[in-house]
């Protein structure tokens, strides 16, 4: 399982790539493999505000429907609409082309609540037990 070192991670299995005050968000390799084949995604619209740990969309696989949680508080400034037609990208390229939204962050100190890749890996292995 792949957890890039340059990303931050949530307990709900989202990753966050920080670039200045912009944060790109997707779901982790562990999340996509647990969900199985993803068949549908839906995100809140561009311009809407999200809260840290608040819901920004849903992802549906053959097994289950899951909610997506924002890693930080802010405004959604970009949405990857391509995923609507090609949700399978989430299974094949979860850290690349399957990014989901970009949030313009309000408070950078919230990043301290997220895990680094090492911590997340430990978290995943304890959860998988």
């Amino acid at each position: 399982m792949n957890f890039p070192a340059n990303l931050k991670y949530t307990k709900n299995h989202e990753w966050a790539r920080v670039n200045g005050n912009k944060v790109t968000v997707g779901i982790t390799d562990y999340a996509q493999s647990e969900l199985g084949d993803i068949v549908y995604v839906e995100f809140n619209d561009k311009g809407t505000d999200v809260k840290q740990d608040g819901i920004f969309g849903t992802v549906e696989s053959v097994k289950a429907v899951s909610e997506l949680y924002a890693p930080v508080t802010g405004t959604i400034v970009e949405v990857n609409n391509a995923l609507e037609d090609t949700p399978e990208l989430i299974n094949t390229d979860c850290y690349g082309n399957a990014w989901m939204i970009v949030i313009e962050m309000k408070d950078t100190s919230e990043l301290d609540n997220l895990m680094d890749s090492k911590k997340y890996e430990d978290y995943v292995s304890s959860e998988a037990k």
Binding site: E34, D37, V39, Y40, E60, V62, K63, A64, V65, P87, E88, A128
Partner: protein, 500 residues
Amino acid sequence: MHDRKAITGFPLVVEPLLSTMSKEGKNTRRMPAPFEEYPLDDIKKDMINNDLPLIPDVSEVETVRHFTRLSRLNYGIDDGIYPLGSCTMKYNPKICEEIASRVKDIHPADKKAMVDILRILIDLSKNFEEICGMDASTLWGAAGAHGELTGMLIIKKALETKGEVRSKVLIPDTAHGTNPASCAIAGFNTVQIPSGKNGYLKASTLKDYIDHDVAALMITNPNTLGIFEQEIACIAELIHNNGSYLYMDGANLNAILGTSRPGDMGVDCLHLNLHKTFASPHGGGGPGSGPVLVKRQLSPYLPLPWITPDKKGLYKLKWDSPTSIGRIHSGMGNLAVLLKAFAYILSLGPDGLKEVSRVATLNANYLKARLSKSFDLPYNTPTLHEFVLTDKYQKAHGVTTMDMAKALIEFGIHPPTVYFPLVVNGAIMIEPTETEPLAELKRFADVMETIAIMAKDSPHVFKNMPSTSPVCRLDEVWAARHLILTWNMIESNKKVVVSK
């Protein structure tokens, strides 16, 4: 792009829709003439539809064969065991159908006949209240989730009346998926609580989640792991001391019927699933019914109409109340299902109802004892009417829960619930119900054990299963990603339009 035909073989066996067989003049049967006297004078002219109905023009033999062929593609509770966990797919006694069918010709406007129906409904309410230890009830809920919504609206109204604003409903992670949905529609936010490694909610865990914004806790008892919520009394006390309500999802009532009562556990509001516990057909077999039962303090908010006695002691419907949440269903709910439930209760009696939950628990524990030798059992806590296994041992050989579910179809058995509850990875959730004879339980266990051996010895065979069923292994991912709805609409009774 996949070739659907190659994957599924489905077009080779598909039964055409009746409308595609429709051709003017095929039906040579005469339609019955209208009643000689028909009260059309009472109906406004613009409300009368003089068009011919848009139904297919097909012959009798085609129609009979169409439905007979379809029925042979089907698998139902009258075919064999249907161990769909949390769905309580029990055999539905035919006597209940017979009783319900005798009132199907009564028109709701026939006041005299309806007096008797209302009396039956009052008796049924009293039976439910006695069985569950509750004070008052409504019978109008259409099914489980509708009952949940009704219950949450009652709780909301009660809080509003007290002048309280509370926005949160707590829901354990072993809940049915409908629970958070019903709360959201009723206008609440939901908070999920982990049930922990023993598979039931700890009062000490609940404490961390309680504050003055909590409107209710929505709990299923026993929960979807089949485990009785053993701290329910402490949980009820915590909830009540906080001024919140305890809602119980009665989906698993089959496990405790006649043995313990939600009202005695401190439950303030619960719904029943008559189509599960009280044996009316469901899952494509007919409508459900979800009565809601409450303690006295919530009774003013029950939906309309209320059934009340008049001065002569006869029952009538009361259509207005300033406290009620209003109407939730047209007419009188799903009346036929209510009547079937009443017939079921009366035919079993108190001892029979107790026997239901005892045998349901015995049957499930027989299967659990046998199957936990071949499959991983994630929780050691004793279970009641259902239990959850996982594919942990078989996954080591590359065989998943889905593969094994498909293999069961090959053996002519309906698979159990899979990948639910969500707290268990690769869950296989088995609920045999009390109506399965021992021989059928043995057959199911034999098949499951065979599948476990196959998973070890020849895991490659699973990928092609089932191959002898009406449709072979469907590509579910492809189907979910490429939705194609095909239907045929008859535009007039002379022309058939095929749309895709």
